[in-house]
Amino acid sequence: MYVTVRVEVEKCSGCKLCIVSCPDPNVLAFIPEAKHVVVNEHRCKGCGLCATVCPEEALTVSGN
């Protein structure tokens, strides 16, 4: 099973800290209309950096 990050959109405040702390491109994208981020699970390497910076604890890495 691949390790990947998942976002709980109800908790996400749209601060984009996860996007500027992710080393991989185009994994996390911001949806301006909905004001939350979405994850491209096929691109995620599961390092968990985004989960450590999220102030709302909206991101969890599967497998942990």
Partner: protein, 295 residues
Amino acid sequence: MSTKIITPVAEFAELLPQEYKDLVARGPHGGRRSVRDLGTFKEIVDEHPHCAGCGVALAVRLLAAALPSPADTLIVGTPGCSFFSLVQTALNYSNTAFGNQNAVAAGLKRMLAIRFPQVHKDVVVVAGDGGIADIGLDMTLHSWFRREKITTVMLDNEVYANTGGQESGMSRLGRVLNMAPRGKLFPKIPVFELAKVSGCVYGARVTVAGPYRLGRVVRNAVLLARELGPTYVQVYAPCPTNMKFPPDQTLKAAKEAEKDHYSFEEFMSTEAAEYLARLKTAPEEREEAPEPAKP
């Protein structure tokens, strides 16, 4: 590489891979982008092979987003970890023999200044600590002595990570690595201090833990290199694979380094300070992406 050059003719548009279509439709060219806009455009086109939690890959992402005019920027790199993701950025990229990056960049900058006299073509050197501080130190210092108008960015992971963990000149004193079992025997090479006395008009030392600050200093460095002279940015990018910490601790390691030996430091000449103050009052004057030159 403006959007006009990369846009395919209508007949071919359907045949191209999705990455190329994304590059044209959602690439970094045209319009002003910054680190704050990350996640709304594609700064790196395709996947890169960096390890999970790589500090260098994060630094390259932030740097690619912070450039003032990506369509008119040429990145010059050298072998090492950094070029894995640099070749995937939507920017003009040139690789060089190990250590020659500043000499090649100086030549390219002079050539571009003759070929495109109406347009600012930014030449940015992005290389690791091995390329700049060890093998390329003489080329780097001489480009600064000659006051070449290029920006040098060092992605300092304090190890030769690409080849299995040999000590580099920028490794810390006493650091034990895969292929340095007795620990590093001498302290870090003070490249930042050398930049101060070698003619750089602007220099900054940052870590990947401050993404917006990294974006700001890279933008300052590129804009000052257009007008005044060489600039230098040193970025601390921790390596989880060789420093043996879990990949989700990269930013924590960078923050700890910020309190210790990698505190934020910035220096600039008097002219550079005046220029930046002028930019602040009239930001649109210089930061606009210039019109592409007619061939």
